[in-house]
């Protein structure tokens, strides 16, 4: 008994009874996750409210007599007439090293059953993006491990590259591959699942764990069953967590999967808050919704720590319609897009990247010299191939030159195919792309190119691993490495049997 009292005393050590000053209003109306409150004349926009059932709310509308708020969490137990307390604080989420490897909701509360998270700092969910003076141009590459992207649509740290395409075209796969490829780097990854199926999220987490990439990843989940308010908040919360690492001068990668569903959640909230609706029933500020989020991706200069946030937003189109409202908005905000096509996907070209319509507006400045050298040629050849591909079916009537271009283009397309968990280092990518664009696979049928390139990689890895090591380290295609590659590939071709 005595020890119990001692323990109690210990817990209450330093406690002084104090009075509190608070602002309270009362609930006028509750429904569909929206609460209308009277009183609270001094409430601020985006202020946090506390309801008597313990849930929190977020002020989103300030009217003349009332305020409109969304409930973040449990709606049960909130009734009209109850008191609501204004906390005077803006919404914050926990952030810190301890968040890595964890699965949290949009408020930063753990969902993985691994116990409470000891956070280092609370970060404001809504924050102004870094200013002009603090920024620096994008110039350090972010290796995705995907040949088609690293070679043709390079992404730099601090860039915002949109991944866009119909359902089931491998959008999330590319984002997840990129996260997996960061496992041996210092890069912090944040995967924000918005309105996704919980089963898909579980599958993704399991994959990341299996591939050993979960340890430097934070998963922020607002699944399809979460309240629209939480789905709306999730990307901002994820960015706030990334900004913690930005302050520490570290690089981070954040994936928003996906912003179409985010816009839907915001549309739902806005309609319920009775805000005027515009095109496709989205509210007037739906552009700002995404522009203020994606502006927070940045690369800071050394004076401000030199950290970066690279954003990979995902947009799902309906039947390939990129001219719909939300896709055009996000395309105009981002620094380029990776366009995935269902037709390519079903014809077996995976990743189904349309290299003609995909662009990276700032990434080429960040591409490594080695890759630039081998991919530059490839880009031209692929574009020539695309122009001529339509004639490919009349192969017999074509002149020798055209035939050759079509064949080479076909082989190059083959070399860009890659499995969903297959990741290649810079050196490996350069070797494969170089070998094909230099014509070492010219004697093969198109369908054999993939198998040949895999075997080539195996061969070089065992016979002369220093080629790949050197490329990965020096990141340039020196004459020495070129000669080594030439020798190795020729040797391999001499021994290669299908």
């Amino acid at each position: 008994m005595a020890s119990f009292i001692e323990e109690l005393e210990q817990h209450l050590n330093g406690y002084k009874p104090t009075g509190v000053l608070k602002h309270v209003g009362s609930i006028l109306e509750v429904g569909d996750g929206i609460v209308t409150v009277t009183g609270l004349d001094n409430a601020k926009m985006a202020e946090v409210l506390r309801f008597s059932n313990g849930s929190y709310g977020l002020v989103l509308n300030l009217n003349r007599e009332t305020i409109g708020a969304v409930v973040l969490g449990e709606l049960e137990g909130i009734e009209s007439g109850q008191q609501v307390e204004a906390t005077g604080q803006l919404l914050e989420v926990p952030a810190g090293e301890a968040m890595l490897g964890r699965i949290v909701n949009a408020l930063g509360q753990p969902l993985d059953g691994k116990g409470p998270i000891k956070h280092e700092k609370m970060m404001s969910v809504e924050k102004m993006a870094a200013g002009v003076i603090t920024r620096k141009a994008v110039e350090v590459p972010l290796q995705t491990g995907v040949k088609a992207i690293d070679a043709l649509i390079p992404i730099g740290r601090g860039q915002r590259e949109l991944i866009i395409g119909d359902r089931q075209t491998g959008k999330s796969t590319i984002a997840i591959q990129t996260i997996m490829n960061q496992k041996e780097t210092e890069m912090v990854c944040i995967y924000v699942a918005i309105g996704q199926k919980a089963s898909f999220v579980a599958q993704t987490v399991a994959l990341l764990e299996k591939e050993g990439a979960l340890a430097n990843t934070i998963i922020v989940v607002a699944d399809a069953a979460s309240a629209a308010a939480l789905q709306y908040l999730a990307p901002y919360s994820g960015t706030a967590m990334a900004e913690y690492f930005l302050e520490k001068g570290r690089d981070s990668l954040i994936v928003y999967d996906d912003l179409s569903k985010h816009a839907w959640a915001y549309r739902q909230m806005s309609l319920l808050l009775r805000r005027p609706s515009g095109r496709e029933a989205y509210p007037g500020d739906v552009f700002y919704l995404h522009s203020r989020l994606l502006e927070r991706a940045c690369r800071l200069n050394e004076k401000y720590g030199g950290g970066s946030i690279t954003a990979l937003p995902i947009i799902e189109t309906q039947a390939g319609d990129v001219s719909a409202y939300i896709p055009t908005n996000v395309i105009s905000i981002t620094d380029g897009q990776i366009y995935l096509e269902a037709d390519l996907f079903y014809s077996g070209i995976r990743p189904a990247v349309n290299v003609g319509t995909s662009v990276s507006r700032v990434g080429s400045a960040a591409q490594t010299k080695a890759m630039k050298k081998v991919a530059g040629k490839m880009k031209i050849e692929l574009s020539q191939y695309r122009e001529l591909a339509a004639f490919a079916q009349f192969a017999s009537d074509l002149d020798e030159m055209t035939k050759k271009t079509i064949e080479r283009g076909g082989r190059l397309t083959e070399i860009l195919k890659q499995g969903p968990t297959e990741l290649l280092s810079l050196g490996e990518q350069v070797l494969q792309v170089w070998a094909v664009s230099e014509g070492y696979a010219n004697s093969l049928a198109k369908t054999d190119v993939q198998a040949w390139s895999v075997k080539l990689l195996e061969y070089v890895k065992t016979s002369s691993p220093e080629i790949i090591e050197k490329l990965n380290k020096e990141k340039v295609l020196s004459d020495e490495v070129l000669a080594m590659m030439k020798k190795a590939v020729e040797e391999f071709n001499n021994t290669y049997v299908k």
Partner: protein, 112 residues
């Protein structure tokens, strides 16, 4: 400074000019609602466990009027559930100096 008479005349003239004389009762009810709200704005609701004496009452009125920067009237309620101390509400501002609130703070602290 216009007198109340002048303001009332002004309102009547405006209504006449716009042909809205029939909505005078609505205007009056809105104004009286506004007056009620204004009144609420100037009332301090005070909850205590035991009745206040007149000396205490005067002190409270003086302190609160100074704090809020306007002359307040008080409306007293006896509420034994607060155990001790005082609960003051002016508009949407609440000053909770009750024993029951302190006990709740202790409870929250122990639950953490």
């Amino acid at each position: 400074m216009q007198t109340a008479q002048e303001i009332a005349d002004g309102i009547l003239m405006l209504l006449e000019k716009r042909g809205l004389t029939h909505s005078l009762p609505e205007v009056i009810s809105l104004l009286s609602e506004h007056q009620a709200a204004q009144k609420k704005f100037n009332i301090a609701i005070i909850r205590t466990a035991i009745e206040l004496n007149s000396n205490e009452r005067d002190m409270i009125v003086e302190e609160l009027s100074a704090l809020f920067g306007r002359q307040l009237q008080i409306e007293e309620h006896i509420d034994e559930t607060i155990i001790g101390g005082m609960y003051i509400q002016v508009g949407d501002t609440v000053l909770d100096y009750t024993v029951s609130n302190n006990l709740k703070q202790v409870q929250d602290r122990l639950e953490k």
